[in-house]
Subunit: 290 residues, 4 copies
């Protein structure tokens, strides 16, 4: 005999763009470009077992709700939209006891001196995931992904164990590059979301640059530590950092010397470092990372 | 003050192709095309805190180990390669207490009547993830992804609640399509991996086809149930099934009738159904899904 | 002063799926899954110069036309849909003197014994491009892309020149793999499209397998030759074949011998061979490749 | 009988990163991140016909040459690297009569106040293609791709013809967004490449913003015109501009008014406008666009 285990359903990737006309300080427009995914859980076993949709708010309705709330809330921070949507689903749908709203936000920059014109800024994608659970409460995890950073020096790698499959040479100077995916858990929902994001991103960038690194793990830990120490509202940081290897090209066969000048950027395989940094007084994570 | 939380590091996406020459029944070659990712955990905090790599088996060494084991084991099922690699890392590296090996395997088909020639079969990607933990033991989760299936009929969707944001019409006949990502947990490591995979895939396809569906959730549950009932070695199935919406095109403005003939395939947004089916006597999942 | 040069505009990537219910020999359904892109040229300079849309059939209308013709024509070969659409645009829009219709068609396979159920077959994408020009006439170029093939042996590469930047060793045995993009030009529009496609694909696969290769160029030429010789309706073949390098892994450091067994599949860079094979009596290409 | 037609072969996507240490005005590093593809043509028929590689400079050698020239030339503009490489291949390989070098260049920005640290700037990719032909001479076509721009207003679309398949409503105000792919042909190789690129990009952005648009075609032509008028070294501009549709969401069913605030960003299908703007005195294009 079998039973239904953990489950959720929803509408993924609702691409909604909001224009707040004339809302900029100089009278220009403000645009907000988001990709919103919602998923719901609760008393919906009937749907799985017999196709009874009585308790299943349609994913199409979830999509409509994203549009309606985008209109109502305007150009707020993504965390506020996520909180409002998640609260709405749980509050208005009796059988729904948990809502998860994940938002990606894409950057746009005003074209110089133009009130209505923008170009996309592709340096990173801002993210947030709100979980609202009737029992476990509300959590907010925000972050960013696809922020690619590179240090041309100040990175070593040596002292690692050598077994029968080890061929890697030790190095006292290498290029270090990674594409950061960072998520940080907030202690509460009473946060200045814009400030917290800006400070976390700044801490991430400056720490990556300032850390003399003996391993990418060390850099990861330094970044997580700095974010927690800089933003009291954050109690936990999770980082996934692929080591985007840049290998020195051997120019000797061509009678040339490579004084740490010419590298090739490898695609695969790549190192992948994943780690968590926690404040000592971080509360329980609950469902935050679900 | 902060502390290090959960972490792992490894080499991702080692693309290794193995040829077993003349190993086919008819004397042709057998090729095995894999993408192997390993990650290790254990007593490696020193690396994060101070850049001390004493206990850190280099990701480059992990890559080499994948190559060496591919030679030693040949064209075994991916589960066996994963089990051997994970066991090796934990057994030979004192500080490493847990290894995770995730493998994707790509299909190739012999070109007719040719012993050495193949074309890629892109219908799905076979997957497996082995976790070997000194304390929690060994787990194997296998499955597939990117298996896209479609029913032209036998799907309804109605009876769902209507709130102020609901505009969706009920339907007694729709096209149902999804791209299945399925993972199943085995009860042990003493399994005929090839048979189990073949049977699980067959169960998935036939159940998708045979289920008269009142919701994609119902189809998901039916698939999970059938897999567990068909393969005694499997105790849990997790499925993620995006609803790849196909909408009937309104041909009325052109004086044409659309008798469920012409659909447009939408990209985004899409419904996303995620669910778990468990055998009643499934053992604890432990770290299997980490 | 400036002037308008070559231009075209249209609707790209109309994803249309057609179901012909009960049309299979055994009473099952037949589905046709296409991605249709149309583009038009003609007396449309006013639109570019002053925004005068008088002669500009809206791209939205082009999309609707694709849907309507998909209904009217049903599950014909893609060449026939392309021909009908291209003819329609030129015939009905006075200012439009040229139409280009490009179609990608995706494969689906019936799930065994199921009349209404299918799984996607991802081995390759079938393509066709029809150009209908009031002056230059009608051309059809068909083909396929993303057909990945591999020979485990019967490939050498040596005898190439060595300059100051050459480090590559000669080889008498290597693995040869490529992802074929092939396009063939038909002599007329009076062709059995299904047969021609099937024969061209079969010729491609068997020639790739049967050619003992001293360079990927040689394999390319052999494929093009065979297609032209096998299908009298085809007068020209263009092929783009990336050399998907598979390098032997050096296992010596691990005390293992690699008897052409273990390879790693590289991503970038890759060789890229592009070539044309023409029948001696091929007519002028006209606009076929535009 | 068949014959060999147009052909070329080479190494694609050599990912090379160059560091010029301390070369910035403030003593920081300068990095140059490129993806270089070369392809050669000439007296290489023997390779296609019989696998005779005597005249075939190996693609591996081409890759090495890219690395060596990256070292020798340092952080020059991509056009200079392309010119040097293309000239080299034709000048040193007797049988090679034509070389094509295509370069993509990715942007990096110094992390504030850090001499050795960078983050990737993903707003667009800079491109250049150099063709060096023994007979036809040398051409340079440069440009960019993936520059996504958006106007929140100042765009109308009406006055288009209405046939039996037309359902689109006319509009006096819409959002206009596109992802620009632009290529411009230079009159000579004696150009200040950095200045020309900067001015062309600036002209593109400002013209997109300043053009009150009755069709995307009009915007395209205005951009091409402005680039040619602004940079005397440029004689031709080719643009491909997908119409990234943003549709107003109908909020009426929810009792809300959508005052041009909430849009959904559609993926497919999309309009695609492709056009050329030429200076009246542009010289013959020769092989520039091959």
């Amino acid at each position: 005999m079998v039973q239904l285990g953990a489950n959720r359903y929803g509408k993924a990737e609702v691409r909604v763009v909001h224009v707040d006309r004339g809302a900029a300080v100089d009278g220009g427009d403000v645009i907000t470009d988001r990709n919103v995914s919602s998923s719901l859980s609760g008393d919906v076993a009937g749907c799985y077992l017999t196709g009874d949709n009585t308790n299943v708010l349609a994913t199409d309705t979830q999509k409509n709700t994203v549009y309606a709330f985008s209109k109502k809330l305007g150009h707020v921070e993504p965390e506020r939209l996520g909180l409002a949507l998640a609260e709405h689903f749980v509050a208005t749908q009796g059988p729904i006891t948990r809502a998860r709203v994940a938002i990606e936000q894409y950057g746009w920059t005003r074209i110089e001196a133009q009130p209505n014109s923008f170009h996309r800024s592709g340096d990173y994608v801002r993210t947030t995931t709100v979980i609202h659970d009737e029992t476990a409460g509300i959590s907010v995890v925000s972050g960013l992904r696809d922020l690619t950073v590179l240090n041309t020096t100040n990175s070593e790698f040596h002292g690692f164990p050598r077994d029968e499959y080890t061929t890697l040479a030790e190095t006292k100077d290498r290029m270090l590059a990674t594409s950061v995916e960072a998520s940080w858990r907030y202690r509460s929902v009473d946060v200045d979301w814009a400030d917290a994001f800006a400070e976390a991103k700044a801490a991430l960038l400056s720490t990556f640059a300032e850390t003399y690194s003996y391993s990418l793990q060390q850099t990861l830990y330094a970044i997580g530590t700095r974010i927690i120490e800089s933003i009291p509202d954050i109690c936990e940081v999770r980082l996934a950092m692929p080591n985007k290897h840049h290998f020195l090209v051997d120019l000797d066969p061509f009678g040339l010397t490579n004084d740490s000048e010419v590298y090739y950027a490898a695609d695969r395989p790549y190192g992948l470092i994943e780690g968590t940094v926690l404040a000592d007084d971080a509360g329980p994570e609950g469902l935050a990372w679900n």
